[in-house]
């Protein structure tokens, strides 16, 4: 299982700060698909994904022990 840290809107939608997802060895793109289906997160295209405190692209493969953070841009100011 991979630990996902959720921020802002995603946290409200999931009702928690962290979720565990069985996504080892899969890509970030695949993760987004799973999240859309299982958690009905929307606008996943504009969410920034960090693995171990480093932003990655959709092609990146998620490995055992990785901590994935999902960060939605917010516009306020």
């Amino acid at each position: 299982m991979i630990k996902l840290l959720l921020f802002a809107k995603l946290r409200d939608q999931a009702g928690k700060q962290e979720i565990n997802v069985d996504i080892e060895g899969k890509s970030v793109k695949e993760l987004k698909r799973v999240l859309k289906e299982s958690y009905s997160f929307d606008e996943l295209d504009s969410i920034m994904v960090a693995i171990n405190e480093e932003f990655v692209n959709d092609e990146e493969i998620i490995r055992k022990g990785d901590v994935v953070a999902l960060i939605p841009p917010v516009s306020g100011g």
């Binding site: 802002a8 946290r11 606008e43 480093e54 932003f55 841009p73 917010v74 516009s75 100011g77």
Partner: protein, 338 residues
């Protein structure tokens, strides 16, 4: 001991750094919560010139988090750029403050940018930020992104030719409805974002770029979390803004958000560019949660905000009913969508 003695005692700045700060000209785009706090800090720090831009006037609901403004400014509906300038002059008359009451569109920003040493993000919408991002790269000026809602905020320093740009980071214009008008904001969140932004600003202005953060910082003050995220891998060599063959797409009319006053209908139409990213369902949930009256069908959604009604179509086009004023219409649009 003089006015800046505590700042010159800080050894990475010193007397030399203070002199450098005094010679710099900074542009602040947007004088809401972030912009007003940034302006106050840089004015107190003794920057040479400050140019501030805002299209809006002070309202009662701003006072909870926006520095510089008083109850009287809200009662008299003083334009923010003017109210801010007045207070900044009381704080430090040595700083030359130029105020512009107007829309920070591509044309205005292109006309003022060439003079600037640094651009600070005080805006509340990504449409303007993407324009700022292009402007900063076209004129090779550092700019410091900041944004926040609720207890959640982010900051990132963008140096043309070095760091990834906003386009590299976010790929598409985010329009997810996470605004202060939909999920609220607490003042400490603003202070923390501006602490990150102004610390980076002082490094750039005192020419200590080697001390820059180099990470995207994001935090949640209510949940007690802070992340500092490396962003290098997102830098796209083919990026239209910071890549090898830039076209600065957000400065071109065909990509810009279009507005049109619909004559005789007391309505303004707003049409964002093709690369937007809207989910009517997501926005509807968000607006309902925030207490707005919302109705709709699979093709459009209608939301009531004060005296205005916004009808948003699936393709991103919006009609703002109740005004002929483009600036007011855009304000309503950005306050609901981002």
């Amino acid at each position: 001991m003089n006015r800046y003695s505590r700042q010159t005692l800080f050894s990475p700045i010193g007397i030399d750094g203070q002199e450098k700060i005094r010679k710099k000209h900074v542009l602040i785009v947007g004088m809401g919560a972030l912009g007003s706090a940034i302006a106050e800090t840089l004015t107190r720090a003794g920057v040479g010139k400050l140019t501030i831009i805002d299209r809006d006037y002070v309202e009662e609901s701003n006072l909870q988090r926006q520095l510089l403004y008083s109850e009287r400014d809200a009662q008299e509906r003083v334009p923010k750029a003017e109210a801010a300038k007045k207070r900044l002059n009381e704080i430090n008359q040595d700083v030359d403050v130029g105020s512009i009451v107007g829309e920070a569109d591509a044309q205005l920003l292109e006309s003022v940018a060439p003079d600037m040493d640094l651009i600070m993000d005080g805006t509340d919408n990504f449409e303007t930020r993407f324009i700022m991002n292009d402007i900063a790269h076209k004129f090779r000026i550092p700019w410091i992104f900041g944004s926040c809602v609720g207890s959640f905020g982010s900051a990132f320093t963008i140096i043309p030719g070095e760091t990834p740009c906003l386009q590299c980071l976010m790929k598409k214009l985010p329009m997810n409805g996470q605004t202060c008008d939909t999920v609220g904001i607490i003042a400490p969140t603003v202070q923390m974002v501006t602490a990150y932004q102004t610390a980076e600003a002082l490094k750039i202005l005192s020419e200590n770029n080697n001390a820059l953060r180099n990470t995207y910082v994001t935090f949640d003050l209510w949940q007690n979390q802070t992340l500092s995220i490396k962003a290098d891998a997102t830098k796209n060599p083919d990026c239209y803004t910071c890549g090898h063959h830039p076209t600065y797409p957000n400065l071109h009319y065909e990509v810009a958000t279009k507005t049109a006053v619909l004559c005789g209908r007391n309505t303004v139409q707003i049409r964002p560019s093709g690369c937007s990213n809207i989910s009517i369902e997501g926005l509807t949930i968000q607006w309902r949660k925030a207490g707005y009256e919302v109705s709709g069908n699979p093709y459009l959604v209608s939301v009531l905000k004060g005296d205005y009604r916004m009808v948003l179509f699936k393709d991103g086009r919006a009609l703002i009913h109740g005004t002929n004023d483009v600036a007011m219409a855009k304000k309503v649009y950005h306050s609901l969508i981002g």
